[in-house]
Structures are given as C-alpha cells and as structure tokens.
C-alpha cells in the first residue's frame, strides 16, 4: 500500500473521529462518522481485504448508520445542543487514554511478528480475500461461526423482549 495514501487515511480516520466526538449536534457527528467509515473501507481495500471493505460499507456505513439516525430522530436535538458535550470526568478520561496511547507507542519496539500461517499476503492476493475467508470460515472455524449465530439470535430475542410494546 502506498505510504502516502496510508498516511492520509490514518490521519483522516483519527481526525474525523476526534471531530465527530466533539460535535454537539448528533446529526453532524453521525455524518462525520459515515465519512470516517468510508475512509476505513478504503484502508481495508488497500490492504487487500476487499471483503472486509464491502462489509464495512454495507454493515457499518449502511445498516448501523441507519440505526443511529433512527435513534437520533427520537432525540430532542435542540436540547442536546444546549447541554454540555462532555460530563465532568473528561479530563481524567483523556489523561488515561493518552497515557495508554503513550504506553502503546513505547511498546511498538517490542512487537515481534508471530508465526505465519499458510495464508500469506501472496496467497490471499492470488485467490482473493473473499475466497480465502470463506474457505476457512466454513471449515476450520465452523464451530465459532455457528456460535456467532446463537449470539445473533439472542440479540434479536433480547431486543424484542426489551423493546416490544406489549409482551404477552
């Protein structure tokens, strides 16, 4: 991946997230987040993960964003804008987060790449990422995959239990 492109994407993702976080108007925040999601998708694409890029757009920029917008429609925007954006504890939060960030920066020198599996970048590039993902997801990882289906089922049932107007 072109280092300049990566630099731009990384800076844009961090910058857009920071700007989205500080917006008082939730609609602005959500719109900035969509732009951020698209940058993220391009980043995945540049890394040869085209399936992840597509999912990023369909699921995050598509489905989850719509959900967010629905939630925002139920808010009283005027009231939201008048209130404070952050609660009183934010200096503590930001110092903890930056401390963690510094720690991670210091540690990057100790990152040793682990053992490589059979799916090297060349192999994935030759048979496409989607095919490689599918062939392990439905064989080697079939058990976690089925387990994830239970997690999703519980999410659906839970949402109905908590939100349905009248349960029998």
């Amino acid at each position: 991946m072109n280092p300049y492109l990566f630099g731009y994407l990384a800076a844009a993702i961090v910058g857009l997230s920071a700007v989205a976080l500080t917006r008082k108007n939730p609609v602005h925040a959500v719109l900035l987040m969509i732009v951020m999601f698209f940058h993220l998708a391009v980043l995945y694409l540049g890394l040869g993960a085209e399936f992840l890029a597509a999912v990023q757009i369909i699921v995050y920029a598509g489905a989850i964003m719509v959900l967010f917008l629905f939630v925002i429609m139920m808010l009283n925007i005027k009231e939201e804008i008048e209130g404070e954006r952050f609660t009183g504890g934010w200096p503590l939060g930001i110092s903890l987060a930056s401390g963690l960030f510094l720690l991670l920066i210091i540690m990057t020198g100790n990152v040793l790449p682990g053992q490589q599996g059979i799916y090297t970048a060349q192999v994935i590039a030759s048979q496409t990422d989607t095919k490689a993902l599918g062939s392990v997801l439905y064989t080697q990882y079939i058990f976690p995959f089925e387990l994830a289906s239970l997690v999703l089922l519980v999410a659906v049932v839970g949402a109905i239990v908590l939100a349905k107007k009248k349960l029998r």
Binding site: M107, G114, Q115, P144, V151
Partner: protein
C-alpha cells in the same frame, strides 16, 4: 452423518442439546399459555444436558481443538447446570408476582448457560470470546427484564455499557496475543511463548493486563466491580442469584484456561496483578458491605469479596490451589443461591423484602425460613460445620502451602470482618421482635430449591471428602 462429524458433535452434545431446548422454548412460548411448562422444559433441558455430559465427560477435544471437553470443563458445567436448575425453580413464581411472566426468560437463561459452558470448554480464544458474549448478552437482557422498573432498566444499561467495555479490553488483549504469536489456540499460544522465549515481552505483559481486567470484570473483582451492586440490586432477584454464581464461575473457568495455560510462562507478571485484585476485592467487598442496608446490595459486595477469596487458589499456582478454587465455586453456588432464594421467597406483590429491616423478627414469624437463612449466612461467613468453612479452609491452606502465608492472614482477617454484616442479618432475625406480618411467596419450586441448597451446604460441610475428590480428579488432566 459422516463418522468424523459424528465424533465432533458427540463432544458438544450437551451444549447442542441445550441449544435445541432453548429454541424449542422460544417456539413453544407462542402456543403455551402456562409458562410453568416452559420452566419444566428448561429444567428438563438441564437434566438432559447433565446426562449428556456424564456420557461424554472426559471426551477429548473437537473442531480442531477449539472445544475441549475435559474434566475441568465438566466440573464447571455441573456448577452451571445446577445454578440454572436452582434459579429456574426460584423464578417461576417470582415472574408471576412481578408480572414479567414471559417465556423468553427461560430461553435466555438457557442460552446464557450455553455461553458459560462454551467458555469453560474453550480451547481457542475466539471460542472463548463468543461464549463470553453469548453469556453476557443474555444477562444484560435478563437484568433489565422488569421493563417497568427504573432500577431494572438502570441495571441493564449499566451492565451493558461496562460489559461491552470489558469485552473490548478482552478483544484488544486477544488481538495483541494473536499479533505476537500468530495463533489464537490457547495451547498454541503457550507453546509459541515457550518456544520463542516471549515470556516477559512488554506487549505480551500489556495483553496480560488486558486479560486480567476483562476477566476481573466478569468475576466482579475490585477495581472492576463498580457495576455489581447496582446491577445485583436492580435485576430480578432470581436473575441476581443466577448471575452472582454462574458467570462468576465461568469467569474463573476462563481465568484457568488463559492465565494458567496460555500465559503460564507469564505467571511472574500476572500473579502480582491477581494478588492485588484479590486483596482489594476482599477488603473493599467486605468493608463496603458493612454500610449496606439493602440485602441485595450487601450480597453484591459479599460476592465481590468471595471473588477475592476464590482468586487465592489461582495465585497459589498449584493443582491443589486450582482444586480448592473449583470446590469453593461449587460451594459458593449453593450458599449464594440459597440466600437469594430466601430473599425471593419474601418478595410478594408490592413487598420488595430488600431492606434489612424486613428481616426483623423473622425467627418468630417464619422460624424454618429464618433457620435456613442462618445456615446460609454462617456458610457465607465460613463458620463450621457449613460448607463455606470447608471451602475457605482449603483455599487458605493452598495459599499457605504455596508460600503466601501473609495473604492467607489477610483473608482470615477479612473473613472476620465479614462476620459483622452476615451475622447482623442473623441478629435481626433472632434477637428482635417482629414488626407486623410477613407473607411468603406461594412457590413450591423456591421451597424445593431452598431445601436442596441448604442440604448441600450442610452435607458438604460435614462430609467434604467427596467434593474435594471430585475437584481433584477434575483437574487431573488439566494442562497447566
């Protein structure tokens, strides 16, 4: 079915059976008007699960080592199934009294149990994470099950927010481990660390901190305990009973799998952390419990303190220590569910029975119930001849044998402090005059659960050999 698939399915048979039952409960909920039938079905599921477990007990691993059905997992699954059955027995009447008698309740309990069982058998960090999410998601919903109650809503949202945060920490830890070792298999990680001399690597140490934080959250150890009092208080009481036992045991199960197996080479780094967690939990749990006037909050702080005790066996880093933690969790399941069952029995329409004052003079109005509560309080304090004493005895012995005499002394001092608030309940029940009539819930299930838990607490207290032997044999094949 092809032979290789059949052997694989046989290994996960208990979980698969429970999943089938859970979905059956969801479907039957549409046609069944009497939800008691669903409760019976849930208990039936647990019984089937139990028999399937006994059949496949030491059944080896499946799905390329992602799922391990060994004695260690078997022991924990017995705890989960027992706590499921007991909580369901307690629930059925409570749900009617609180007007939340919906069939989804039982399905969510079942799914949550499946999640815990997967956690206890996880051979891969991905399986572990998915099991943990399955368990937690169900619990978030269950704690908010009284939809009309603000406290229940608060409990659910708090649990969800902080729980998701803990999950994120866990995922971050898993991704760092994967980056360093190139594998998510738990024994694969251990092998890679040993082969490449990664022990003491700062990034891996950071991942270890993340694991300890995430699991500390699940077992409600200080400083990751903040959610526990509010959630325990707001959630429906049988759910509180369930989640103070099952998920805590599941948290310990994955601590065993990750800290004692995957990160066994990093034990120098994590024992310090876990010791700190253990001391803080015992101290904060027991001291803050003194100030509580709400019995559910008091039991929440007590459960924090008990997480601290149980960690002693992990710190000991010996088979004996692990066995003592296992048997302690087993005992804790019965005594804690027993105490919560008493609270549930006193909850009738419009009466919460959560304030300590409502226990005043219980020995005069309901002598038998008061006597049982006395047994549970004695057991939680650790007074012989109850099971709680045995559990603590083995934990403290394991800690001393591992050279942590000072830690055992701290634990004993903290247990002495805990006597104050446990015995205060007993004092209220026995030494004060009743202030009016106390009604009991009309529930045979809860009475049965009460009988079973009290009997278990007394029998284990007097004849602990069987349980201790069971715990020892459970960890015999544990690679730690």
């Amino acid at each position: 079915m092809p032979e290789f698939l059949r052997t694989q399915v046989m290994v996960i048979l208990p979980e698969a059976l429970l999943a089938v039952f859970a979905m059956a409960v969801l479907l039957l909920d549409l046609v069944v008007k009497r939800k008691g039938i669903l409760a019976a079905l849930t208990i039936g599921a647990a019984v089937c699960g139990f028999f399937a477990l006994s059949g496949t007990g030491g059944g080896g691993s499946a799905w390329g080592g992602m799922f391990i059905a060994d004695g260690y997992g078997f022991f924990f699954k017995i705890i989960f199934l027992a706590s499921l059955v007991l909580s369901v027995l307690v629930s059925s009447r409570y749900l009617i009294e609180e007007d939340i008698n919906h069939g989804e309740y039982y399905a969510l309990m079942l799914f949550s149990t499946i999640g815990m069982m997967v956690m206890a058998s996880a051979g891969d960090l991905i399986t572990l994470y998915l099991g943990l999410e399955l368990m937690s998601l169900c619990l978030y919903v269950l704690s908010g099950f009284i939809r009309g109650s603000l406290r229940s809503n608060e409990a659910a949202i708090k649990y969800f927010m902080l729980g998701s945060f803990a999950s994120a920490l866990l995922l971050f830890g898993i991704s760092l481990t994967y980056g360093l070792t190139g594998t998510t298999a738990i024994d694969g990680v251990a092998k890679y660390i040993a082969a490449h001399g990664l022990a003491g690597n700062p990034v891996l140490a950071f991942a270890t901190v993340l694991y300890v934080s995430a699991f500390g959250f699940k077992i409600a150890a200080v400083p990751f305990h903040m959610w526990a009092p509010d959630v325990y208080e707001g959630a429906p009481t049988p759910v509180t009973a369930f989640m103070s036992v099952g998920p805590k045991a599941a948290g310990f199960a994955v601590i065993g799998r990750v800290l004692l197996v995957a990160l066994s080479q990093m034990s120098f780094e994590w024992t310090g952390l876990v010791i700190a967690l253990s001391i803080m939990s015992m101290a904060a749990g027991n001291i803050l419990a003194i100030a509580q006037t709400n019995i559910k909050r008091m039991l929440a702080y007590s459960s924090i303190a008990h997480a601290g005790y149980a960690l002693l066996g992990i710190i000991a880093l010996s088979p004996e220590g692990l066995a003592s933690t296992l048997s302690y969790l087993f005992i804790y399941a019965f005594m804690n569910i027993g105490a919560f069952t008493v609270v549930t029995l006193l909850t009738t329409k419009g009466v919460k029975a959560e304030d300590l004052k409502e226990y005043v003079g219980l020995s005069k109005t309901h002598p038998f119930l008061a006597a049982l509560m006395l047994i549970f309080m004695f057991s939680l304090t650790g007074i012989p001849p109850t099971a709680g004493f045995i559990g603590k005895f083995y934990l403290f012995t394991a800690a001393i044998k591992a050279g942590y005499t000072w830690l055992a002394v701290v634990a004993v001092v903290m247990s002495a402090i805990s006597a104050y608030f446990y015995l205060r309940v007993v004092m209220y029940m026995y030494m004060k005059e009743p202030e009016g009539e106390v009604k009991l819930e009309r529930s045979y299930g809860a009475r049965l659960a009460l009988g079973v838990t009290a009997l278990a607490v007394l029998v284990i207290g007097m004849m602990p050999a069987g349980l201790v032997e069971f715990a020892r044999s459970a960890i015999a094949g544990f690679r730690g």
